[in-house]
């Protein structure tokens, strides 16, 4: 995801959480487009004319590195369980337990609000060989993630240190096309890209990608401004599997989008603000991310919006944990990465975050927690989580979802130019 997001200052995370109770999605909370930092421009100036990094595979890390008892963890806002202690400070119960079990103290921060922006910030440091100050960062599968891997800016993971991942992780997340063999990354949480529509304004059932092209919805259809989402979903809609697609297919997909645009059916290529437009009635049908729809209905107090994966296929994306080169505490990092694949921990996180957990076994734990809950609200909330396809998707759902086409840099340029010719018009 390369979204344009900025959290207005007064909308602090704790405030939002209080407003929306427990079930808040990270993406939903960040709704609203932000100004784009042109600081990235200057930062980028420092990158011109670089050579491939001399540092290659980092296996030697695992021979030499020792546990230090410290972990610097950089993630996204609203993407972990929180509590408030007696002094009024925000705490992270799952991290507290981790410290208790392993003796590793976690410095948790939320520096990432936009992949492109964050990448622009760390790239010059990584290029210069300076540590960026984090042992774990959470990066969405994207051109930026591919670049991080291709530049050898991520530490290659040691599978022997990730037994929980291989034991408890779902088969779907163990097979991600953008990181075959899980060499550099393992998932934190995932989500779907599909179609959402307003059931109050559209009486028939929406099942197909082609419903986004229905002239009946003229001027009320929203698509994503992100070339990865829009391009890949369109390829799927045309019956082409993204990873098998060729540039000529991309051009065909772009032509289809162009026709949607020129006929006036399309209203706008939206960024994160799509969900606001859908909620406000500016659009009635739109490309969407799974978690947002759930959250929007919760905020509105109704079930007007419905999220579906089109029958032609939907997209799955994953936010991935990875260790940047130069990390000071790699052993502590990989220890934590393994730790969150414990179903109990995964359940704790899932209950708080409500995105697709990579650990199917967490569902049983959530159900147990629901059964054990004493007050009715909590019980209902936990039951909802356990039954939510947004947290524990069915195999049928997973079977028709695909990752984005993996793009090497040259392909990425070509891909962006082809789709931007329509999207950035």
């Amino acid at each position: 995801m390369t979204t344009l997001r900025e959290l207005p200052e007064f909308l602090d995370a704790a405030f939002l959480r209080g407003l929306t109770q427990r079930r808040i999605t990270r993406r939903g909370a960040l709704a609203g487009a932000g100004a784009i930092s042109l600081g990235a421009f200057l930062a980028a100036c420092g990158i011109g004319g670089n050579q491939p990094s001399a540092a290659t595979h980092q296996n030697w890390v695992w021979d030499k590195a020792k546990k230090t008892g410290t972990l610097d963890f950089g993630s996204w806002p609203l993407y972990i369980d929180t509590a408030v202690d007696s002094a009024g400070n925000t705490t992270y119960p799952s991290l507290v337990e981790f410290t208790k079990e392993t003796g590793i103290k976690v410095n948790y921060s939320e520096p990432i609000q936009d992949i492109a922006e964050f990448f622009a910030k760390i790239a010059p440091q990584l290029q210069a060989g300076t540590p960026i100050g984090y042992d774990i960062i959470v990066i969405t599968n994207s051109i930026q993630l591919t670049n991080l891997m291709l530049k050898h800016w991520l530490v290659e993971l040691d599978p022997s240190k990730l037994p929980n991942f291989y034991k408890n992780g779902s088969k779907r997340v163990q097979n991600r096309s953008f990181d075959p063999g899980n060499r550099f990354t393992i998932p934190w949480q995932s989500g779907f890209t599909g179609i959402a529509y307003n059931t109050k304004k559209i009486s028939r059932e929406i099942t197909s990608y082609n419903d986004l092209f229905d002239p009946a919805f003229k001027g009320k259809v929203g698509m994503f401004t992100f070339t990865q989402d829009t391009g890949n979903l369109t390829l799927l809609g045309m019956g082409i599997k993204p990873d098998n697609s060729k540039p000529s297919d991309w051009q065909k997909a772009a032509d289809k989008l162009k026709q949607q645009r020129d006929s006036g059916i399309l209203r706008k290529f939206y960024d994160q603000s799509y969900i606001k437009a859908l909620s406000a009635g500016d659009t009635v049908i739109s490309m969407a991310w799974s978690g947002d729809v759930y959250q929007a209905n919760l905020s509105a107090g109704n079930e007007d919006l419905k999220f579906i994966l089109p029958k032609e296929g939907g997209l799955i994306w994953t936010d991935n944990m990875c260790i940047p080169v130069g990390a000071a505490h790699p052993v502590d990092a990989i220890t934590y990465m393994n730790y969150v694949y414990d179903p109990k921990v995964a359940a704790e996180l899932a209950e708080a975050i409500n995105y697709i957990t990579p650990v199917p076994g967490a569902k049983a734990v959530v159900e147990q927690d629901a059964a054990a809950a004493t007050d009715a609200d909590t019980k209902q909330s936990l039951t909802d989580t356990a039954n939510s396809s947004a947290v524990f998707p069915t195999d049928a759902d997973l079977a028709k979802t695909y990752y984005y086409r993996t793009l090497n840099p040259a392909e990425a340029t070509q891909w962006n130019d082809i789709f931007n010719a329509v999207i950035l018009s």
């Binding site: 487009a33 990235a40 670089n50 491939p52 209203r267 406000a280 962006n416 931007n420």
Partner: protein, 298 residues
Amino acid sequence: MAVGTATVRRPALTTRWGRALAPYLLIFPGVAWLLIFFLFPLLTLAVTSLMSGDFVAGFQFTWNFNNYTYGLGLYATQYSHSLEYGASATLIAFLLAYPAAYWIAFHAGPRKSAYLLIILLPFFVSFVLRTLSWETLMGDDGPILGPLKSAHLIPSDFRVLATPIAVTFGLAYTFFPYMLLPIYASLEKIDRRLIEAAEDLFANRVEVFRRVIFPLSIPGVFAGVLLTGIPATADFVNQTLLGGAGTTMIGRVIEQQFEVSANYPLASALAFVFMLGLLAMLLLYQRLFGTDELVRAR
């Protein structure tokens, strides 16, 4: 007496060098600032725009003029959007700001500052938030269009958002203070006795405005048009929030090429062309409506 003269003269001699250096010392910080924060990035931009390669393999300087021809071919429409929306927004801002500035300068009496503050108050709020609230206000079923549609005063598929109109008015609104303030300053500066002189010479109110007040406010209008026109043309946030498909401005393309596609050479080429284009128009504008002569005459 002679002793007194000598003691006075000695420090004068020692400060002679300081006096000669003073102008250079005074302009040094400004020049250094420009060198570091303007000239250097500009140079980097120019160099980057002639590179080829990709992010992972690295970019090499190869006199790759292809970035320019390719970029211009691909994004000519977006350049023209920028021009079109920027110019219209400037015109609208002018039409809105001039009467307001005029009224405050000539008719607001002792409460001028209060009125100025009231007009500028909304602009203390971050412009992203302001534009976001526009989005809510002008929604298809929002508080303005909703009731009009219910009353069948406008067709149900009428919309403001996701149109060039919304972008233009959004830009005009965003940069309104940059138009208002210089115009106000130039109107406020006008010698009121000149207005009496014009009345004395048989000019009625309309003629006083046309022949004296407006010509004398032209420096303010000139500055206002620059201060509004340049950022409005370069802006992309308004277009991102308020525009629809087919309204993209070049600023957004540059931003996307930089941040998302990491195609620095192309982004640099696009930015450079944009800058040169603006500069050319600036010079032309200065040539046509410049105030050199007026300034000199004063």
